[in-house]
């Protein structure tokens, strides 16, 4: 075969064997050329291909991390509720080698682990068993160190309330799967949990600083007077925005399962109470607005009023004829009951309806209390309702109604959600401007020289009304179980904020001479709150007294 090679016979180029070699060479050259052309074409194709196809994963828009549940913030953007990532431990029973041993080892990390239940679950034949939700980083490291097969972590999100118990009732809480169970969390459950809602946080009208001032002062009196409960709120009377909302006793929303029903109960929104004399504010405003009552009128309050089997008495008896301003500032039930008769049951009912006190209010919370009122509405009911007995409303409703008596007569529904723009034209007129001006003067006088003296803070023109209601027991009112309250408004020359504090069954102390009425236990707390929040809210101290109070002649001429 070698002897046939071309170089051995160069002298004869036309030999047939040489021709055959040449043909083969040409075939080989073309074959290689074809392959190289293919490679070249592929090279060009790759070179011209778009880079997107090469590295798809790295492209796309800027990734935005959206938590499974949006945040809740106060009006200044302070975080009240947020979602943070955490790890939860689960098991795949099919991969677990020794259930009893695993349970034993895990109990060294979780001393409170129910071992028997875990072993049962691991033998149940399911493919997924939660062992423990929301571990701390230390627990996670400890479980990892055990090196148990079949146990893994899953990243979950946990609802965190950095402010602790401060906003427990206002914000509410969620269950372990992040579903809102109470408060704002429940009312806005869908919007908060919907990823389409995006990073849009829910901004509340609450102000953390005001909330703390109210919470702090309420906790003091709640403890000092050993009250069963307390409710309080701060309301902007010009917009209906709730700046603070506190219900005591409260709980830590980070650990809702440890809270008792008593702690979870929202006394501001859910609870309805016969609030007592602060209701007189409404009776007087209705009287002035209908024209049935004037400042110069007066009523006989020299002895308790007997109506059928009822006896209407005064908490601060003067035992004489009282002028209309006196009835208000000394909080005479006898006088108010007689005024209500002059106003008439129908008028009273229509106005209370207009003030929203006969229906459950629209408020951004799931748990809204429904008012209780008499049906049929008899004469005796009209008389007792005049001083706040026989009708039960929530402190929230009461605050909105009182706000309408001082803000010029406009009822503005209370709200908890900051819509970013001022709520104008949100209200409906209930009282005339003139009736409202008279109420401002009377409320200021109550603090200057009536039952509300202890709420006064120099310079802020505080006005208000005390309430001391006997709580309804089994079939009768209990003389020693009181509901003591104070509704304070400041500054009275241009009312801006209303503070309502209600204490449930306070017990008087030596400091209050064992009195536990609204003027003794609630009014000083309202005064302390005003002292703290007025500078924060930018209310400048006033240099002069409310002009209108000079025009009110309090005492009857015959009175010494």
């Amino acid at each position: 075969v070698i002897t046939q090679g071309a170089p051995s016979q160069p002298s004869n180029p036309r030999s047939p064997s040489l021709e055959a070699v040449r043909t083969r060479l040409v075939i080989a050259v073309f074959a290689f050329l074809g392959v190289f052309l293919l490679l070249g074409a592929r090279l060009v194709e790759l070179g011209l291909s778009s880079p997107e196809r090469v590295a798809h994963a790295a492209t796309g828009g800027i990734p935005i991390y959206v938590a499974k549940r949006a945040d809740i913030t106060d009006r200044n953007g302070i975080v009240l509720a947020t979602n943070l990532e955490t790890s939860s431990l689960y098991a795949d029973p099919a991969k677990v080698l020794d259930a009893a041993d695993a349970a034993e080892k895990l109990s060294t990390v979780f001393p409170d682990l129910a071992k028997a239940e875990l072993v049962d679950a691991l033998h149940s034949g399911r493919r997924f068993v939660w062992v423990r939700r929301k571990l701390t980083p230390q627990q996670m490291v400890a479980v990892n160190a055990l090196g148990l097969p079949g146990f893994s972590f899953r990243t979950e999100e946990e609802r965190v309330y950095p402010q602790g118990p401060l906003f427990s009732h206002a914000v509410g809480f969620v269950d372990v799967d992040g579903r809102g169970l109470a408060g704002t969390e429940r009312y806005f459950d869908k919007a908060l949990g919907d990823p389409a809602y995006g990073e849009q946080d829910v901004r509340l009208t609450l102000d953390a600083r005001v909330q703390f001032a109210l919470h702090d002062e309420m906790k003091k009196v709640f403890a000092a007077y050993r009250a069963k409960g307390a409710a309080g709120l701060v309301l902007d009377v010009t917009t209906g925005e709730v700046l603070a909302l506190v219900s005591l006793p409260d709980f830590d929303p980070n650990l809702p399962s440890t809270a008792t029903p008593e702690q979870r109960f929202n006394r501001v929104v859910q609870g309805v109470y016969e609030l007592g004399s602060i209701f007189k504010t409404l009776t007087f405003a209705i009287g002035f607005d209908t024209g049935r009552i004037s400042m110069s009128d007066g009523y006989d309050a020299s002895k308790p009023l007997k109506v059928g089997k009822f006896l209407i008495r005064d908490d601060h008896p003067k035992n004489r004829f009282l002028t209309v301003p006196e009835i208000f500032i000394y909080s005479s039930n006898i006088g108010a009951a007689q005024m209500a008769l002059d106003i008439g049951a129908d008028n009273q009912r229509v106005y209370l309806e207009k003030l929203g006190l006969l229906t459950a209010p629209l408020f951004e919370m799931a748990e809204v209390g429904r008012p209780l009122y008499p049906d049929p509405w008899r004469e005796i009911n009209t008389m007792t309702i005049a001083y706040g007995h026989g009708i039960a409303v929530s402190p929230l409703q009461m605050a909105a109604a009182i706000a309408a008596t001082v803000n010029g007569g406009i009822l503005i529904p209370a709200t908890l959600v900051d819509e970013g723009e001022p709520r104008k034209d949100a209200g409906t007129r209930v009282f005339s401007e003139d009736a409202s001006a008279k109420m401002r003067a009377l409320m200021r006088l109550t603090v200057i020289e009536g039952t509300g003296k202890q709420a006064d803070v120099k310079g802020y023109l505080v006005g208000g009304k005390t309430g001391t209601a006997e709580k309804a027991g089994a079939g009768a009112y209990q003389e020693h179980a009181l509901l003591s309250s104070f509704a304070g408004v400041f500054p009275m020359d241009a009312p801006r904020y209303l503070i309502l504090i209600v204490l449930d069954e306070p017990t008087g102390t030596a400091a209050t001479f064992n009195y536990s009425g609204g003027g003794w236990v609630a009014a000083p707390a309202v005064g302390s709150v005003i002292l703290r929040i007025a500078p924060m809210l930018g209310v400048a101290p006033r240099q002069r007294e409310l002009v209108a109070v000079r025009d009110v002649v309090i005492h009857a001429a015959s009175n010494p």
Partner: protein
């Protein structure tokens, strides 16, 4: 070899090399971008944690504790509020009478007229 062919080949080699460097740079950049995006998401999560921590460390209850321990701050009394910055006394100047918001009535303030106000002003209106 003809110069044209040589030039052509050189061009092809140069273009190939350029393309290679370009593509490898793009790949590096894309890897960098992907890493940045991962970091960005991690930073957003960290930001959320830090915001929660900030809210926690600034919670009024905690600040009150710190204030009680290190400062002697108390709620501002109405008499301590001045209404204009010009009224704040300065060290270098001799002390001028300061108009506190509550203490001094305005000149045009009419004297309390009604007897009931006079009776009550003794306890309620004194500075």
């Amino acid at each position: 070899m003809r110069p044209a062919l040589f030039n052509g080949l050189a061009l092809v080699v140069a273009a190939g090399a350029g393309l290679y460097f370009l593509k490898s740079t793009i790949e590096d950049r894309q890897q960098h971008l992907a890493a940045l995006k991962v970091d960005y998401v991690a930073d957003q999560k960290a930001l959320k944690v830090l915001k929660a921590e900030w809210a926690y460390l600034n919670s009024p209850e905690y600040l009150k504790e710190l204030s009680a321990r290190y400062l002697a701050l108390k709620p501002l009394a109405p008499g301590e509020v001045v209404l204009a910055a010009a009224e704040i006394p300065r060290k270098s100047e001799p002390a001028l009478p300061v108009t506190f918001a509550y203490q001094t009535p305005l000149p045009d303030e009419p004297a309390p007229a009604a007897s009931l106000v006079a009776a009550r002003s003794g306890k309620a209106d004194e500075p």
